[in-house]
């Protein structure tokens, strides 16, 4: 496919943009393997010493474990709540559908700072002690709209005639959902759950407000930077980035590929 936009000028801009976006990340990854404590060029040699150091640190391992727990629980809770909400919004004919959808999507438009503060006030009002529980609740509020947006789009796109056919063949509404609706949207739901996990795993602002005395991985990075700056920060950041990237890749592959397949079948 010959693009009319293929001029040396636009090519240069593309490369410059990519360098601008990726170079800082590349530097972080590179220096996570540095053999000395220096964080500046020249790069003198490769070593895994910072990785060994990080994995030997109990507070790092504790923060990682916390992050994994919070991200898993909030992703699974979002999955259950989100599929139910998406199904309701997509299939109901209630007049409340529009206003409800608006309410559900509202958190996307709010700055994290505002959401964090609001949640903090709310939790103290209901006298809920700040802990990983409050962090998980906050993350559910934060990732839920993203999940809902994707799941609802998949349900809207799905041929709802299949549900009529299934009901006609004797399936109760519950059987229709498990045997027909869910299998149609399963890849998208798994993808959206990975996205929810990734969003929760590297969330910082809301966590910062509602965490209390414990720590998650992003918070651990932030607090260690205030003490010393050595390549172990880069190591942790690289690990964080790796987990997030993998989850995003899963989300991307499952939600996008499904679309491609639909286009191929055509209708």
């Amino acid at each position: 496919m010959e693009s009319t936009l293929r001029s040396p000028f636009s090519g240069a801009i593309t490369i410059a943009s990519l360098v601008f976006l990726i170079a800082p990340l590349a530097v972080v990854v590179l220096f996570s393997f540095h053999e000395t404590a220096s964080l500046a060029f020249p790069f003198t040699g490769f070593s895994l010493r910072w990785y060994r150091a990080v994995f030997a640190s109990p507070s790092f391992l504790n923060a990682t474990l916390n992050s994994l727990i919070v991200a898993s629980v909030s992703a699974i809770a979002t999955l259950v709540l989100g599929v139910m909400a998406a199904f309701g919004l997509s299939r109901s004919s209630s007049a409340l559908r529009g206003p409800l959808a608006l309410l559900f999507f509202l958190p996307i438009t709010l700055p994290g700072l505002f959401l964090g503060l609001a949640l903090l006030v709310f939790f103290s009002r209901i006298a809920l002690k700040l802990s990983l529980v409050t962090v998980t609740l906050g993350h559910i509020v934060y990732v839920f709209p993203y999940f809902l947006l994707i799941a609802k789009a998949a349900l809207d796109r799905m041929d709802s005639a299949l549900e009529d056919v299934a009901a006609d063949l004797g399936a109760s509404p519950w059987q229709v959902f498990w045997r027909v609706t869910l299998p149609q949207i399963r890849p998208v739901v798994i993808g959206a759950t990975s996205l929810a996990f990734a969003l929760s795993f590297d969330e910082f602002v809301i966590t910062f407000f509602v965490i209390g005395s414990q720590s998650t991985l992003p918070l651990y990075i932030w607090s260690s930077m205030r003490r010393t700056i050595d390549p172990s920060i880069n190591t942790i950041s690289t690990l964080l980035m790796l987990v997030t990237l993998v989850m995003f890749a899963v989300a991307f592959a499952l939600t996008i590929r499904k679309d491609g397949m639909r286009a191929e079948v055509g209708r």
Binding site: A161, D168, P173, V176
Partner: protein, 363 residues
């Protein structure tokens, strides 16, 4: 109105359905016998699909009752009704192969595995797709998909089968082939078939009885031959087959003859049973009209050829008659004399046995 000697399979009692203020169905009464093949025929928006969805249970009628095998099912949801539907689109479950699509209702009913296997194979054989169990649904052609959809409902051995324009998305050649298949399947399974279509040819070819719908009402329900030959209303005459439906005035003339005024022309005829005097609609099938060269003392009424088209088996003319708003359609077999030219004066005659008069209210 049940065909003689058959138990009632589907009864519709005073069913009315409104969408907002608009009545999609008005006061429908209908009884369909077990094993009958009844077609709901009508233009889009006439209410035929609405009635089918009410029988399937997807719609709850605003008023009236639906009885299946004598039991009131008006409030029963679709999945608990002993009817199955073949929809316009096959809508095969894309995540299941052909065999599992067909087995869907049997799995819900927790049928034992060997029986599922046997009945799926039988159903696929019935629609002439034996051995297709392991195929993916997207590998099939449109006609094959619709056959699988048919097998998927037949496997449950429904007493009543609803078919909502199942052939309208298919090519003509496949459609004709599928019509034959449907007739054969109907004979073999003995279920009641309710078939919705806007295609009058399909309705005439398939049905035991045809119900012609217009604006939410049934204008006529009868055997296909009767609907075609003895339409009850001008709408039915125009919709089923092609027809000239022209306003005439009937008066008694002396000597047992009846005078019919068409436009500003007038003819005298002697009918075996003379039609009611007064304003009427005269229904004339285009193939019943005879054309001959205009001549003094010709038997018919004078007209002028305005258009003609060659149709292979003959010529289709449009003929203007003085004082008549619409032109008459005439289909004449090709004869040696060749076609009449546009603008030619002709004599337009017809056999009195081809005449059908319907009451016409003034205004």
């Amino acid at each position: 109105m049940t065909a003689e000697g058959r138990a009632a399979s589907v009864q519709i009692e005073r069913v009315t359905h409104r969408y907002g203020a608009m009545a999609a169905l008005s006061d429908i009464d209908l009884t369909i016998g077990q094993g009958e093949f009844v077609t709901f025929l009508g233009p889009s928006g006439c209410g035929k699909t609405t009635l089918l969805r009410i029988i399937a249970g997807f719609l709850r009628p605003s008023e009236g009752r639906v009885l299946l095998q004598g039991a009131d099912v008006t409030a029963v949801p679709p999945h608990k009704r002993p009817v199955n539907t073949v929809f316009q689109r096959p809508s095969l479950f894309p995540h299941l192969d052909v065999g599992e699509n067909v087995a869907f209702s049997l799995r819900l009913a927790k049928t034992p595995e060997p029986e599922i296997k046997r009945r799926v194979a039988d159903a696929l054989a019935l629609v002439r797709l034996p051995g297709y169990e392991r195929r993916a649904s997207h590998e099939l052609s449109g006609g094959q998909m619709q056959r699988v959809a048919l097998a998927r409902v037949l496997v449950a051995r429904p007493r009543v089968l609803l078919l909502d324009e199942p052939l309208s998305a298919l090519d003509l050649a496949i459609r004709l082939e599928m019509e034959e298949e449907l007739r054969r399947v109907h004979r073999e399974v003995g279920a009641t078939f309710l078939y919705v279509t806007h295609d009058q040819r399909e309705a005439l070819a398939l049905s035991d009885r045809v119900a012609v719908f217009n604006r939410g009402r049934i204008e006529q329900i009868d055997r296909p031959e009767r609907v075609y030959r003895r339409p009850a209303t001008p709408f039915v005459a125009r919709f089923v087959g092609d027809a000239n439906v022209v306003p005439v005035d009937v008066t008694r003339a002396g000597g047992g003859e009846t005078s019919i005024a068409i436009g500003s022309e007038r003819i005298l005829r002697r009918f075996p049973q003379s039609p009611e005097p007064g304003p009427a609609w005269l229904v004339l099938r285009p193939e019943a009209l005879l054309l001959s060269e205009a001549a003094p003392r010709a038997p018919g009424i004078p007209g002028i050829v305005r258009d003609f088209a060659y149709r292979g088996s003959g010529y289709a003319y449009r003929i203007a008659v003085a004082g008549l708003g619409e032109m008459l359609k005439a289909e004449v077999p090709a004869v040696e004399s060749g076609p009449f030219a546009i603008g030619a004066p002709v004599d337009l005659a017809w056999d009195i046995s081809a005449c059908l008069f319907l009451r016409r209210r003034e205004g």
